[in-house]
Symmetry: C2
Subunit: 150 residues, 2 copies
Amino acid sequence: MNDHHFVLRLAQVQDLPQVLDLVQGLADFEQESDAVTATINDYNLAFANDKIWVNLALVENNIVGFTLCYDTFSTWKGKMFYLEDFYVADNFRSKGIGQGLFDAFIKEAKNRECKLVKWQVLDWNTRAVHFYERNLATIEREWWNGKIIF
Amino acid sequence: MNDHHFVLRLAQVQDLPQVLDLVQGLADFEQESDAVTATINDYNLAFANDKIWVNLALVENNIVGFTLCYDTFSTWKGKMFYLEDFYVADNFRSKGIGQGLFDAFIKEAKNRECKLVKWQVLDWNTRAVHFYERNLATIEREWWNGKIIF
């Protein structure tokens, strides 16, 4: 068996606690360890209400990566599919897992008849920017985010 | 009657063509006139499926501003309300209309029990940035957008 063999499948509700663990890992990678306040109940509710689409990458039955996406609406383009989070665990990078997850995200967006896909990347994450540019994405550097946390 | 008197109300389906006209106005303001390819059918479908929340500002029964928002999900915080578009027509700025629309957006997010609100602003739009800062928003300058238009 190829060490790099991985399987993609959609998450089920019982996978969500492990997804939340990986989100914490992503927050650590982004130097924001304390920022994760969402609970497993928040995830379960969004999942039950069909508000999130979660795709998993597994190696030997362990979740080593995921994408979490949802439908939004672009006032300029119409139906949009948004990639909120995209993570591959450190030890499993450069094995095609991220590409497989990204391809599946694009395919799902097209199945949903979306007109565009969108996501964000941190300006210091050069490796991710290069990955997206290889996938012919446009990287917009002129928008800032506004946010208020209640 | 005060010249600056305005009324806020939720959009109905018959308001959507005028909203799309204003979106075109916003694209002009952002120097992207040709980028709007969404049709009124796209708007009608999103509205009928309860995918968008559209709030209008009216002066003498004319729509002079609007916000268009939708529910999303933050993997870090949980339920999020996203301000996709926010527009006040040129001649009607500095009259409190933008503040009224923004306050209503925040109120709706809290009614929906969202944990945060988010939006974007162009880096050159100093006036908008100052508006958001006065509203105690955090402005994040370190995220870039990735996008692919199909």
